[in-house]
Symmetry: C2
Subunit: 464 residues, 2 copies
């Protein structure tokens, strides 16, 4: 019953060509685990895509994971390890028999191995590196010398390249004689000059559909881009999305090709960056749904502590006006409204700004216009809600003075919300701080402090 | 100077292989427009990628756009239209001379034309459809019969297919004799049975690197998936990301291939879905940085109005305790802290839940465990901050009673925040409402109401 409620459309989705884990399936798996029925378990798990298998491991509890891997570990596809959430990798690797682990790792592409070992330490890292062939190990160790989150970490080192003077026939013959050296998937043949510098690339569809005598040089894509090996992976993902790239050569300082990044890796990075943004905006550190209570608590605590500090700051503002409140208790009833409206308006403005900064839609070209616009929007919404709240004030408390106070405070705070919502992300960005991370706290601090101060301050001036 | 502040690293990024519009560049463009110097303008704009050209048009003001297109419209690349933000398309199309528009549209792939005309109406739509060749027009009109946001709208109709019994040599010969019928980019040859049903697909890299005599059937990818033509585009993007797909055949109800979706289109959809989530979580409707003041105001107003209603609701709770506040004004000072901490904790929990629902990491398999975890996290953080606030209460007001009240209220509200933060998104999802859209309002309403009620209610019980 609970499963009915919480996995709507599970059956639709399976029909639609991709498989979503649902309650009944997971229950069958766990029953097979409990019955120690290795055969039934294999029957259930064999058809799973490695990504779904990783999801399954993430969704069950630690002791269930251990029991499942005890029964099934020997058959685990190596690709599951690179699909698995980082927080669980160490645990799962620890649970696998060493020979299974070696076998699994040898099947992976170099970029996946890098992804796997970069978060491991000591014994586990050594064990995995030793499982690789000498050439793969050298490749992985080389990749690990590039900075974290750089193109160098993201790229695969298997490169399909051809001298710039080759013809289609030569390229096809070369590919046919060396099929084992090719990466699993490739989309371009990179043309290089004698010094191995990338000079262009040809889509392999173009090679397939051209005559053997055609020069590769004549088939190159018009819009040719390369990525420096130390570029941030977020910038790489942005470029893929902006320019509809499929695969891009990665070059070193001398413009020599050292690897290739493909769009599927860029898509994963984009997804991770989005997740980071959305969680940071909510003041949540890197969190996984699979985290345990203690990890989750620890990750959320810092921002709650910051919030407590800012809430106390706002209370200190209120404390300055205790006398006023003691005389007009209605102020205590209404004051949260002004702060709340400011907080909301500020959050709207800052979210649009954070997103626009991330997509490079907010630049030097339009920043002044956008700041003016946010101020105008804040002012207009402020006036609209000032009129509304003025009316509420009169109807509720029958006091025109209170209506004046709340209306004026509303206009002031909404204007401040708009300005803080755009200026704080801009300043944080300029200071090199991710605006998604800290804008929310700063903006709501401004709107709380300004909201309480304007409302209670005006009340002290006008009502006493 | 202002530009220096707001376009940090602009020069780095250009060096890094992709071009970011910055203040000085945009200023040069606008100067050329003002001087009506068409030659200089062309010199500046010619090297721009269509996506960057679209960004430029989005970042300048309406009258500047009109003047720029007046001078440069004749040379505009058709691809700019499909890169352009929907809100500006109509305006830009209106500014282009009809013959330029026809020329531009004829260069586009069928999926881009669909993307372009689906938001247009009347005269403009007719004009664009009439500019197409009869066959292209039929293709576009057919695509428009599929529901909005479906795979049918997203797919391109140019399909590269081969009979399942063909060999590599036959496929290459076929492709070489029909190069003009091929799409710009393609990554697989789809194998079809005599009834045109997809039975598998072969990566073209595999075709290139295999001998002419090899059977295509023996080269097919192990993990073969198709997408039903009416599947939601968000589900399609999810499948591409989860299973690292590059291109997927789209099939009708009889499993016949009707089109192909490629990963670059899926990446655009994923980006749009993320944007929608992030903006909806902040209570911002579909907004663009290029929107005018009046549109922005109108789009933000509804959620501010909802927030006003919930803020008034919270005030009504406070109003029940006016007498208590009149006697102990310290309560007015402290009460926003309880509400604010609950709101923050609730927002953390709901953001994690909304994200986990979007990535299908929260399913029937683990929902009970996650609900229990959120309750536990809420309780633990509640106790931690109860102790802290109890200490603050004693130090600040020297009153052990106030310390008890705020501590107890803090535990209650943080626990409620955790529960509301997970249960409200789940219930909204079950009800078919996007949890990103409405969770925030509901959760903060709960934490405000519970926070004020618990704090003031306990104060009424214990302090009077």
């Amino acid at each position: 019953m609970a499963d009915d409620i919480l996995t709507p459309e599970a059956s639709d989705e399976r029909e639609a060509g991709h498989y979503t884990l649902d309650g009944p399936f997971t229950r069958s798996v766990l029953e097979a685990v409990e019955a120690e029925d290795a055969e039934r378990l294999a029957e259930l798990l064999e058809p799973l895509h490695p990504a779904d298998m990783a999801d399954l491991l993430e969704q069950i509890e630690g002791w269930q994971r251990a029991a499942l891997l005890h029964l099934y570990g020997g058959r685990l596809d190596g690709a599951v390890l690179s699909e698995l959430d980082e927080s669980l990798r160490e645990e799962v690797i620890h649970l696998l028999p060493p020979d299974v682990l070696s076998e699994a790792v040898r099947e992976l592409d170099s970029d996946d191995v890098v992804d796997l070992v970069e978060d491991l330490e000591g014994e586990q890292k050594t064990m995995i590196l030793e499982a690789l062939s000498a050439s793969s190990r050298a490749a992985v160790e080389q990749a690990l010398t590039y900075p974290e989150f750089s193109a160098g970490r993201l790229m695969q080192r298997e490169i399909v390249r051809a001298p710039e003077h080759w013809r289609v026939g030569e390229a096809i013959d070369f590919l046919r004689t060396n099929p084992d050296s090719l990466p699993d998937q490739f989309y371009h043949v990179i043309l290089v000059d004698p010094r191995m510098r990338a000079v262009g690339q040809v889509a392999i569809g173009k090679i397939l559909s051209s005559r053997r005598g055609a020069l590769l040089r004549d088939l190159t894509e018009e819009d040719f881009r390369t990525v420096p090996v130390d570029q941030d992976e977020g910038e790489v993902a942005y470029a893929f999305n902006q320019y509809h790239l499929i695969s891009v050569p990665v070059v070193d300082e001398e413009k020599r090709v050292v690897g290739v990044i493909t769009i599927d890796d860029a898509m994963v990075v984009m997804d991770e960056e989005h997740e980071e943004d959305i969680l940071r905006l909510a003041g949540v550190g890197e969190t996984r749904i699979s985290d345990r209570v203690v990890d989750t608590t620890r990750r959320r605590l810092p921002w709650l502590a910051v919030n407590l500090a800012t809430a106390i700051l706002a209370s200190l503002v209120i404390a300055q006006f205790e006398e006023v409140i003691a005389q007009v208790v209605a102020l205590a009833v209404l004051m949260p409204i002004v702060a709340s409206m400011g907080g909301n308006a500020g959050t709207q403005a800052l979210t649009v700004a954070v997103r626009a900064l991330a997509t490079k839609d907010l630049t030097g070209s339009n920043v002044l216009r956008i700041v003016r616009r946010e101020a105008a929007v804040g002012l207009i919404n402020g006036v609209i809600f000032a009129v509304l709240m003025g009316a509420v004030g009169i109807l509720w408390f029958g006091d025109i003075g209170i209506a004046y106070v709340i209306s004026a405070a509303m206009v002031i705070n909404m204007l401040m919300a708009g300005l803080a919502g755009i200026l704080i992300p801009l300043l944080l960005d300029k200071a090199g701080v991710d605006p998604a991370l800290a804008s929310g706290t700063f903006v709501t601090t401004v709107t709380d402090v300004v909201g309480f101060f304007a409302f209670l301050g005006l009340a002290a001036l006008w009502l006493l």
